[in-house]
Symmetry: D2
Subunit: 474 residues, 4 copies
Amino acid sequence: MTTEPTKKTRKTSTIWGGRFGAGVSGVMEKINASIDFDKRLYAEDIAGSKAHCTMLAHQGIISPEDRDAILAGLDRVSGEIEEGRFTFDAGLEDIHMNIEHRLSELIGDAAGRLHTARSRNDQVATDLRLWLRGAVDEIDRGLRGLQEVFIDLAEEHAATVMPGFTHLQTAQPVTLGHHFLAYVEMLGRDRGRMGDCRKRLNECPLGAAALAGTSFPIDRHMTAEALGFDTPSRNSLDAVSDRDFALEFLGSGAIVGIHLSRLMEELILWCSAQFAFARLSDSYSTGSSIMPQKRNPDAAELVRAKTGRMIGALNSLLTVMKGLPLAYGKDMQEDKEPVFDAAETLIICIAATTGMLKGATFDAQRMRADAGQGFATATDLADWLVRVLKVPFRKAHQITGNLVKLAEDRGCGLEDLSVEEMKSVESRIREDIFQVLSVENSVKSRNSYGGTSPRNVSEAAAEARRRYLAMDGG
Amino acid sequence: MTTEPTKKTRKTSTIWGGRFGAGVSGVMEKINASIDFDKRLYAEDIAGSKAHCTMLAHQGIISPEDRDAILAGLDRVSGEIEEGRFTFDAGLEDIHMNIEHRLSELIGDAAGRLHTARSRNDQVATDLRLWLRGAVDEIDRGLRGLQEVFIDLAEEHAATVMPGFTHLQTAQPVTLGHHFLAYVEMLGRDRGRMGDCRKRLNECPLGAAALAGTSFPIDRHMTAEALGFDTPSRNSLDAVSDRDFALEFLGSGAIVGIHLSRLMEELILWCSAQFAFARLSDSYSTGSSIMPQKRNPDAAELVRAKTGRMIGALNSLLTVMKGLPLAYGKDMQEDKEPVFDAAETLIICIAATTGMLKGATFDAQRMRADAGQGFATATDLADWLVRVLKVPFRKAHQITGNLVKLAEDRGCGLEDLSVEEMKSVESRIREDIFQVLSVENSVKSRNSYGGTSPRNVSEAAAEARRRYLAMDGG
Amino acid sequence: MTTEPTKKTRKTSTIWGGRFGAGVSGVMEKINASIDFDKRLYAEDIAGSKAHCTMLAHQGIISPEDRDAILAGLDRVSGEIEEGRFTFDAGLEDIHMNIEHRLSELIGDAAGRLHTARSRNDQVATDLRLWLRGAVDEIDRGLRGLQEVFIDLAEEHAATVMPGFTHLQTAQPVTLGHHFLAYVEMLGRDRGRMGDCRKRLNECPLGAAALAGTSFPIDRHMTAEALGFDTPSRNSLDAVSDRDFALEFLGSGAIVGIHLSRLMEELILWCSAQFAFARLSDSYSTGSSIMPQKRNPDAAELVRAKTGRMIGALNSLLTVMKGLPLAYGKDMQEDKEPVFDAAETLIICIAATTGMLKGATFDAQRMRADAGQGFATATDLADWLVRVLKVPFRKAHQITGNLVKLAEDRGCGLEDLSVEEMKSVESRIREDIFQVLSVENSVKSRNSYGGTSPRNVSEAAAEARRRYLAMDGG
Amino acid sequence: MTTEPTKKTRKTSTIWGGRFGAGVSGVMEKINASIDFDKRLYAEDIAGSKAHCTMLAHQGIISPEDRDAILAGLDRVSGEIEEGRFTFDAGLEDIHMNIEHRLSELIGDAAGRLHTARSRNDQVATDLRLWLRGAVDEIDRGLRGLQEVFIDLAEEHAATVMPGFTHLQTAQPVTLGHHFLAYVEMLGRDRGRMGDCRKRLNECPLGAAALAGTSFPIDRHMTAEALGFDTPSRNSLDAVSDRDFALEFLGSGAIVGIHLSRLMEELILWCSAQFAFARLSDSYSTGSSIMPQKRNPDAAELVRAKTGRMIGALNSLLTVMKGLPLAYGKDMQEDKEPVFDAAETLIICIAATTGMLKGATFDAQRMRADAGQGFATATDLADWLVRVLKVPFRKAHQITGNLVKLAEDRGCGLEDLSVEEMKSVESRIREDIFQVLSVENSVKSRNSYGGTSPRNVSEAAAEARRRYLAMDGG
């Protein structure tokens, strides 16, 4: 996927010309080799080989001497890679062959015994599961950290009034803390989905060999346990041809992306001059190459956009897997790049979101001012008619509609109408109706379970802290 | 979405001409009204209203008399719909207003009290969750039934030998029963995902009202319990703007689609003259309007194709939800058609797959013949070299490659080479190597956990019966 | 896809229970029959049959008497369908068999000669192309009409100043007319894409028969011409297995959707209390069931959302077609619903957008006020430094940045700084710099080709009227 | 997107731990910088700057001396990059700033004049269009080359008989050459779509500046012409916010992917032991790490799979663009990776397909044998009944069905029935019916326009050579 800068524009005929003209083997090597991206799996591959090797010796399939040589050799390979002294070779196709080849250079014949009773088919499935398990755990930690930021903010803003929107129109006043807690719920479900995905992916394909199992007396429970898996997978054909774990991860990740994109849309709106509810810190804003005054919420826009990337990754793999006959097919090699890209995108998006929120400031005064506009307490008025005058809600809705129209005509708010004016619409209206027309009273009154009242929000924040921040992410 | 047949081809200018020319209100009604598809929700809407009404009376918000009138009226509406005597009116936009309007015709003013302390925002979220919960339960039952068919077939074919494929090339012999059990595993994970989805969707939004909760003293736990939900949702903004449950369902459904499409690809291959491994029953085959001899696996092709439809539905809703600010927006009305379509598509696909498998016959003789082709036991030979001669696997792989080449040159199978010919490649080869070259012995020897040996398959089928068929689907 | 309302919630086990329990033939008929949706093709099917029949007679393959009987019979069938007197029967699978069956009831044996030298494979491909050609033409007319509305608005608002945004931050002042003309360009490209799609789809598959052509002496050019096609398709295998025309349409339609969704996002923002740049007419706004004051831009939200639907349709068919071997496969029956749905969705979205724009009002005063905020003329100041003082742009950018900071600290606009204050940053600044700081002068000065100056906009609107409204859409 | 290999599996908590813990600026730089991927645009960026600079001097906006310094400096930068001596710095965000920064190191103040009257918004849009134009041209050349291979093969196999499939069931005999020409048609449409895309993308955004145009007296036609564009774009807001060209490219590319994936599905089938119609050359086959006998069509599987990747890229960008308000937003930075990836994937897939076909061999004998199976000439028999006995086609279809059943019961082919046996079904059948039952005669008789007869195929191949190989690809 990484490509060297192209040559001059005017010579585009030569950009990829070489590729088409390349000897057949060049094209084949280029399309076939996966080492450019699967080298990410080196640690998992070595961990898997060590567990496999230890088990082979324990079962008497290889000798203790070979085992010791292999383990020591793998450690040396690992060291070489981590220290950047390892040369990856596309001619050796993939990470498995690169490592085994180097091992054989280091320890000779014993290296040739490592691949007993396994295949690259079960090996790569094991590696990818291990890698993804690590990513899922990291994502859970990231989501937990983001929940914590939201809960802190919710406590701080439990009574900060803002306009609640539906259809991006002022609907009813809510509190900013309540708004933040909505995201805590979304992220809580996200963590649940990631956890369920982890549970299902944590089965070990190693020992399924090419597709049918093996005649060697291996102990698959031993390798599964050594690698932290809950169990070996139960069917060898399924073990090498299943990529559900990747699809489930991509699907769950896309939903996290949806949540982040919704928040980013709000931040971008809130940072506009027209809303001016929020301001990002300098470190999350950028300037313009031409307009000296600009202060752009680039990070928010990028996080919003990167949802598209995660949806694309999900689509890619769904399409790849559709209609593939069992068992392993090379098509499945296309699983890695979408998984790597989606996981890494998600991680950086969560980190950026966390950073943005931590550094953002919110203009409570501006929010409060807008919360009072647009007849935001009309529902409170209607509810008063129902509660106090026993008017059926549908009729109360009509009466309130007429009062809104009256206020609109006068160019004032509902609370600016006189009782007499109100009585012209509904004669039984009394002075105490004005109590429900204040934004603060409106918010306070919404104390049904899950409602926006400041007391509710404080309690819900405390409850969320207990529920989510103690939650063990894997 | 349903459109009347168009007029004559040559007059296409008038096909939709009326639409563009239509009075503004016509276009608006057409794009805005959801009654054409959300009428599916009538039973859930009425159930929700009954629970809400009962709770309102219990809390003293409406009178017992009004409650009784409303409950009786709703039952009448329900009866009218079920008996086909109800007239749905697009002018009333949606199922909620259609029902409430009819209720008010039937019982007068009391109907106007039903909408106290709720909004269409929480109402539709409740309805859709209830509908989807029913669909998920039905899908679980369907998947369980399909697992049962597979387990029965696996027991029947525990020792039926077939060629195991990787890259659609003969790899190693496996058993047909083992192949079927791979699908039992896939469907088991599918049921797990559907179950997890159900768990997360089973929270009740009712009482979140428009977005902020309400000032009426409602009891959300009471309505939640009456409707079979585990709990009321915890945040009112989230309750009305969350569609995770639909996205998670669509994602999980797409993965089921992947599994079915893989199986269908196999059935289509197996029904070809070239494979001839299987034959569908007449009731799942169709003919041709021009070719009198055709016997097409249409149902299998349709199930394979409909995966695309489910992926499309998932994409639709992911795209709709991306970047929507809180709380409810009308965009979310586009949630219903993909959910309805995907659920109904999935249900019919599962039913068709179950029917196809039940009626299919498998040609064991043809499978057995192909299983022995293509040097399918070459791995067994290599493993013998490792096990008996203590050759490192990599070297054994090379020796076997040379033996395969030898056999290929002679135009025979590995088992047709003489010991002497074999010795020309590796002098220590002995007569007893031929034991591992038979397809039956190969299959028998794969008795590692999860491997394809007939004994394994029988045990695994029994274990699958215990694990999956007793599993409670919700 | 249409489903009757489900039964009671609590009995969901029976919702689709019948389906699973249904006799095999029930499931097969349900999944296999396409008449529910392909009846839309009746007019195209009949037109195709008439052309085919006329050609058969012309070539002497059927007799003139049979021809006359068939043509008269088809006209009767057409009449019955248009008058709603035709009974569609799922047992007859599709529109082709429904019509042929009725024809045979009406005219007897002669009907059996109509299917000579054709197959449903070429027949359905012909029908769908004809239908889509009509839809493309209608879409072109709709897009042209929308362009006209934009051009009218552009002329009206050629000098209406508004804030130009990048990153949703105030960037530079632009004119509303210029903004509208941006959409004229997008729609112009859309029409180009639709036209190119039409050009490629306008080849006639009829006569390809099942897949191989026919031995009857048919004249494919004659039928192609009779149906308005440019040419018969050149390869019979391709003719029956190609769905490029549908994919290209869906791709082009999705891009139209992107354009409409961008406009809708803007309308929704502009209708918010915080922007208040625009107001939709009552006929395109809706109210709330709970909040009596609401005025929601539902139509705009729906058009924005329906882009997701079109993307979903594109995905569905791409996934269906991926990896299908030639020639016709039943998978391709899944082409129709996404095409019908996307076309009809697009048509209603264009109509709704046209209606919304026609009825919308724009608040020029509010836009003008916001255009002057946020140091919107900072670029003009930097450009003045370059032009007048010969400062390199990069340095001018820095100086301007300092002046912006100065103004920000003083809490004023750039135009409110005194010359002395400015000189403290750059000593050569002179009084005439203030000319470039007014919003009106800024806008006027942007008269490079394609720039936003009112004179440019008027000329561009006139040019667009010439280019696009005279464009022949098909 | 490229990530260094991760640390040890068991320490996954530290895999990305640093990222979350990273100073805010680290996360921001990581998510914001595009230099890792947009460095591909260096040649286009420099070409654009040179054209811009030359024009600025021509218009008297910068001096000839500055122009000369800038042009010379840009050439030096270009040289440094091509020779690998350039250090890309993520701190400088993107390719534009990296180049400008280096230019300023090399030539000092004059470099600061280059960015006069432009912005990164129009600059990047210009760069990407230039890059994509080059890619489209390369793709056209690749597709043309692939058409040539197909046409050569079609001429070679004009009379090679194979079974024609519908539903993967034997339908009617066709010729292999005809099959190949079907792909020539598909690729011809692909080239048409790419050409139309190129036509629409070939408009120059340069000079649109940030979004509004500029007050400098630039000559946009001059830069457009210098860069090979047909015209400058007509609206500055559209110029910087339009990504249609990328979407249209991705859509057209996905359809190419569909075609390649269909061909690959066929090659994979044909290489299976069961079909055995084709054999890939060694250079396009791979082995197995465990099964010594394997010969896998990996390249075909990868090309089939990579369609998913192209569909994913299309989805990504469609989702990114949906609902973005004008003008430029940072979201659009996510356009590059899908475009680069899809273009490069497409190019390597076309090259691999070309290579595979060139080296493949086809087993005419095996194909011929299968072509005669499955009553493949039943349609011919029915057509004989229509033509000779004047039976209506529908009745002929029934009679043939009965004859097929008769043959099936006897376990023989239609041609193996005696005339007497046939007469038992339809008494008027005569001896000469056997002429139409041979596969060769069947194929020969399909000489309607576009049909499969060898003569047709030869003529169509010659015609395709004239039409497509002379076609100028841009």
